[in-house]
Structures are given as structure tokens and as C-alpha cells.
């Protein structure tokens, strides 16, 4: 069944042609208006990042000027090479990438399995397990830091990246919850048909549900990556060798007790934020397919 966007009943063909021109003008006007609104509010949202980048190019004396200096003068381009050589940037980036990628893989794999169980299989105690899962997020982390540390110490993992990576292979409540909600929007007709055909749960999970949930999986992957990229407390607690430090720890090296290398710190922060921006920009296609265009479906 081909579905087209169609106007409501009304104008005849002739009028449609004339109105066509009018409609184009109206459309252009709407487009301009849309851009205007989006840009107007967007400028507001872009302020912190703009400040970050412009500050990275300022001399130190202008960094905290009130009101903020919006255009640095002179432009200190050399803040960037200075910042990137002040700390072993490449190594820290690699360390961070390793942790982030492992986290993404572990989270997506394990959380999709658990979410499938909590949404697509009807079993006794399921809702209670779901409730317990959600409630594990409620207790403030400050009071579980020490016992958690003790567990890792007992396992002998302090000083390695294992505490930062291994738990992600065992489900994260946030991602399981999110995926469960998305899985629940996938109707059951297909999986019912497959079950009748004699398919195993694993096959239904991997060949029907997962492909349909790609946007949700991409969202989970994105959030996991960003969370691990910016994580400061985890690496601080569990890493004891500067050679294995992550970017977030490396950035602290710019801060002294009385004052910091502010402009360089902003430059390093900008460089650290850029990959995430690029990742988000290009990953959008996967999880926001946008309003689908007109055309044949199915």
C-alpha cells in the first residue's frame, strides 16, 4: 500500500497549480521562520561551548574577565600545541578510547539481553526483578564507594582498568531500563510468527528485535561512550599509574593549587570534547532517522 502525503479535500486541480506557487512562498517563509527560531534558541545553547573555544584562544588575563570577553585579542593559537604537549595527549586518548570502546560493547551486548528478558519474555518474578534493577540506581553512590572499592581490592583489580570495564559486561541499570522501554514498543506479531515457525528465543532476539531496535542500541552506545569518556571519579579511584591515565585525569594536570593554566586547560578540554561532537553529529543518522519521507513503505 503506497502512502502519500495528500492534501485534504478541497482545491481543484487548477487552483492547486496556482496555489502551488503560493504554497512555495509559504514554505520558504516557514523554513526561514524555523531556522530563525532554531538559531535563536540555539545560540543560547551554544554559549558554553563557544566560551570554551574562545577562551582556549585567549591570553590568561582575559579568561575570567567579567563580562566575558567574546573575541580574544590577541588570538593565542599556540595555546593548542602547548596544551597538547603539556601532557601525553596521544597516550591518554588511546587509554580513554580503549575503556570507552570496551564499555560500549559490553553495555550494548549485556543490556540488550537483559532488556529482552524483561520485556519480551513473560516469566514469574520479572516485574520484581525490574523494580530491583531500577531501585539500584536510587541509592546515592557516595555510600557504596567504599564497599565497591573493597570488592575490587579483594579481586585484585585495583591499579588496572578492570573495575572500569568489566562491570559494563554485566548490565547497567540505566541502559537496561532504556532498552526495555524501546523493546516494549516493538509489536509482537513478528516474533509470534517466528515462534510458531519454531525459532529459538536467541534467534528472535538477534534477528528480529535487535535490528528493529537499532536506534535504541545506538542511543545506548552513544551515552555509554560519552559517560565513559568524561568519567573522572572512576579512573581517579582505580588507576595508580600515570601511563594508564585517561583524558579526564590528564586535564587535572593543568590545575595548580593557586590558579591554573586556564587557557591551556580550555584548549585541552576543547580537543577532548571534539571527538564526542563529531561522533554525535555522524551517529545521529542511526538513532534519529528523522521524520520519514513520503514514499512507498513495506
Amino acid at each position: 500500500m503506497a502512502i502519500h502525503v495528500k492534501a485534504t479535500t478541497g482545491p481543484t486541480g487548477n487552483q492547486t497549480r496556482q496555489h502551488g506557487k503560493g504554497r512555495t512562498v509559504a514554505r520558504v517563509a516557514r523554513t526561514i521562520a524555523s531556522h530563525g527560531v532554531l538559531l535563536g534558541i540555539g545560540v543560547f545553547f551554544g554559549l558554553p561551548f563557544y566560551w570554551l573555544v574562545s577562551t582556549s584562544l585567549k591570553p590568561d588575563s582575559q579568561v575570567f574577565a567579567m563580562p566575558p570577553v567574546w573575541i580574544p585579542h590577541p588570538i593565542m593559537w599556540r595555546n593548542y600545541p602547548r596544551a597538547l604537549t603539556y601532557i601525553p595527549f596521544a597516550r591518554y586518548t588511546w587509554n580513554t578510547l580503549v575503556i570507552c570502546s570496551l564499555n560500549v560493547v559490553g553495555t550494548v551486548a549485556s543490556c540488550s539481553l537483559v532488556a529482552y528478558s524483561l520485556s519480551k519474555i513473560r516469566w514469574r518474578g520479572r516485574d520484581l526483578v525490574f523494580l530491583v534493577l531500577v531501585s539500584t540506581m536510587i541509592l546515592p553512590a557516595q555510600v557504596t564507594l567504599i564497599p565497591t572499592f573493597t570488592i575490587f581490592k579483594w579481586l585484585g583489580w585495583i591499579g588496572s582498568i578492570k573495575p572500569l570495564v568489566v562491570p559494563s559486561f554485566f548490565g547497567s541499570a540505566f541502559s537496561v531500563f532504556l532498552l526495555r522501554q524501546f523493546f516494549l514498543t516493538i509489536p509482537n506479531e513478528l516474533s509470534d510468527a517466528a515462534k510458531i515457525d519454531g525459532c529459538s528465543e536467541l534467534a528472535i532476539y538477534s534477528r528480529i528485535v535487535l535490528p528493529l531496535a537499532r536506534p535504541a542500541l545506538a542511543t545506548v552506545g552513544l551515552f555509554t561512550f560519552i559517560g565513559a569518556w568524561n568519567d573522572f571519579l572512576g579512573p581517579l579511584m582505580y588507576l595508580n599509574d600515570e601511563r594508564s591515565y585517561t583524558l579526564s585525569l590528564g586535564l587535572q594536570r593543568f590545575v595548580s593549587q593557586h590558579g591554573a593554566e586556564w587557557a591551556m586547560l580550555m584548549a585541552a578540554s576543547t580537543v577532548m570534547t571534539l571527538p564526542i561532537i563529531v561522533l554525535f553529529f555522524f551517529a545521529q543518522k542511526t538513532f534519529i532517522q528523522g521524520v520519514t519521507l513520503t514514499g512507498i513503505k513495506g
Partner: protein, 298 residues
């Protein structure tokens, strides 16, 4: 459901959820149980805990006025800040859910504050909310307000100021809404339009119901996040002025890590747990009435 099918489902349900069960048993259960035990102990996080029964709870309710003040501050965040940020992120997601050239750029722009380092956001907001030269007050004076609020230096206006700032963090929920919005099939909108439904009716009868699983997610996560609100207050105001921004989690943090009172902090954590869990349960119970799952497992 027959007994055999029930058992089969139970088996598969547990199997798929096994990663979470293992993770819970190894990484999560002990810290949670330990913190509950600490709440009944006098524990300075250095020497072993010493059982004192309900002493921590007694002191909390009877002797600590800051407990009540911080609880009030946090409930304010939950009651006022949460609805505001939920509405804002939904609004922005709707704004960004259209096909427009360069929409990917706009979405990235609106997501930027969520990934920009906190220091950048803090500086901008310290400027925006500055009583003398801040943009917000300049606009207010231009609109005719004679004595605009002193925002972060005024106990009565510090929390609203922080709520304004939290709007910037709408990026995360916005992404989830966008992923959910693209799940709403075009066909439904068109069918609704065919029946004569206008934009608003379409929103109410197509968008909202199809989006409701994701709204529930953002609502619960927002609830949990508001109860644990901490970072901005710690970085920008450190609880001032005069404890107007001493939120529950900040008070807890101070007790746990500055005052050698981990036992008391644990008791605080569990009181928060009970309150927040109750709210979450209420939300879940009532959710059956407004959340529509297309693929509820039968």
C-alpha cells in the same frame, strides 16, 4: 499459559537476564547491603564500624536542622525543577524532529551543553545570572522590572537560578525523545490527518501515546536525578548562600567525606532511598493508565 510453557519462559527469562544477576551478585549486592549495615553503625570510614542501632536516624530527625533544610531543597528541585526540565527537553525534541536542511547541525548544537565541561557552563551561568551585569537581569530591567533578583547571591533566588541552568542539560533527554519520536510511524499521523485531526490533536492522540514509554523513562530517570542533584551546587555555590543550595546529596557528601561520618551518611542515603523509591513506585503504578506499549509481552 500452560505449566510447560511457563517453565520454559522462566528458564529463558532467567538465562537472558543472567548477566545482570551475576553482576548484581558480584558488584552490587554487597555494597548495598553494606551501606544498609553502616547506617546502623558509627562508622568513620577508617576504623571498623560499630553497631549503634537507630542512633543515626534519631540524630538525623531530631538533632540536624540541616537534614530538613537539605531535604526541602532537594524536594524543591524534584517538584519544580523536574517538570520544567521534562517539558523543556520534550519541547526541544519536538522542535528538532523535522526535516530541515542542517537539522543535524542544530541537534548537535542543542546537545553541546551536555558534553561541555562543567567549568564552561559554570562560568557562563555565573555571568548570565550576575545581578549587576548578567544578561538575564539586563533583559529583565529592559522589560521594566525595577529590582531584578540577585540570583545566586540571594537565598530566595539561588534555586530558581540553578533550575534555569539545568535547562541546558536537556540535551540528554532530548536525544532519547528524538530516538523515540522517530519510532512514531508516519502512517499514524496521516491517518489522523485524514480523519481531520489538527496539529494539536495529532500531538495529543498520536505523538504522546506512542512516546509514552520514553516519557516514562525520562520521568523516572529525571526523578532519580533530581533526588541526587549535587554537581552544580558543589561546583558553583558549594551550598550557599546560607544553605539555600545545600542539597541532600551535598550534605550527605560532606558528612561522608569531610566529617568522618560515613555511618550517618549511609543513614541519610537510605532515608532518601525510601522516599525516592516510594515516588518511583507511585509513578510506575499510575503509569499503566497513560503508558501505551505496542509490544507488551503477552
Amino acid at each position: 499459559m500452560k505449566g510447560k510453557e511457563q517453565r520454559r519462559n522462566l528458564g529463558y527469562g532467567l538465562l537472558f537476564a543472567a548477566p545482570w544477576f551475576i553482576g548484581f551478585a558480584v558488584f552490587t549486592a554487597y555494597p548495598i547491603a553494606a551501606s544498609l549495615y553502616y547506617s546502623f553503625c558509627s562508622y568513620d570510614a577508617i576504623r571498623p564500624p560499630r553497631w549503634v542501632g537507630f542512633q543515626n536516624y534519631h540524630r538525623m530527625f531530631v538533632e540536624d536542622p540541616l537534614f530538613w533544610k537539605s531535604l526541602w531543597n532537594t524536594l524543591y528541585m524534584v517538584g519544580v525543577g523536574l517538570p520544567v526540565s521534562l517539558a523543556a527537553s520534550l519541547g526541544i525534541a519536538l522542535l528538532l524532529n523535522r526535516k530541515l536542511r542542517g537539522i543535524a547541525f542544530y541537534r548537535t548544537l542543542y546537545y553541546l551543553p551536555s558534553i561541555t565541561p562543567v567549568v564552561a557552563a559554570s562560568i557562563i551561568w555565573l555571568w548570565l545570572l550576575n545581578p549587576e551585569i548578567g544578561l538575564v537581569n539586563i533583559v529583565l530591567r529592559w522589560m521594566g522590572v525595577a529590582h531584578p533578583p540577585a540570583w545566586l547571591t540571594d537565598p530566595a533566588w539561588a534555586k530558581p537560578g540553578l533550575i534555569l541552568m539545568s535547562l541546558w542539560g536537556a540535551g540528554g533527554s532530548m536525544v532519547i525523545y528524538l530516538a523515540g519520536l522517530q519510532d512514531v510511524p508516519e502512517a499514524l499521523y496521516e491517518a489522523a490527518a485524514l480523519d481531520g485531526a489538527g496539529k494539536w490533536a495529532q500531538f495529543r492522540h498520536v505523538t504522546l501515546p506512542m512516546l509514552s514509554p520514553v516519557i516514562l523513562f525520562n520521568l523516572i530517570m529525571g526523578l532519580i536525578g533530581s533526588f541526587q542533584y549535587f554537581t552544580q551546587a558543589y561546583v558553583m555555590t558549594n551550598g550557599g548562600p546560607q544553605d539555600a543550595t545545600t542539597f541532600y546529596a551535598l550534605h550527605l557528601f560532606n558528612q561522608a567525606f569531610l566529617d568522618f561520618k560515613m555511618g550517618y551518611a549511609s543513614a541519610m542515603a537510605w532515608v532518601l532511598f525510601v522516599i525516592a523509591l516510594t515516588c518511583a513506585l507511585v509513578v510506575f503504578r499510575t503509569s499503566a493508565r497513560w503508558v501505551y506499549y505496542a509490544g507488551e509481552a503477552r
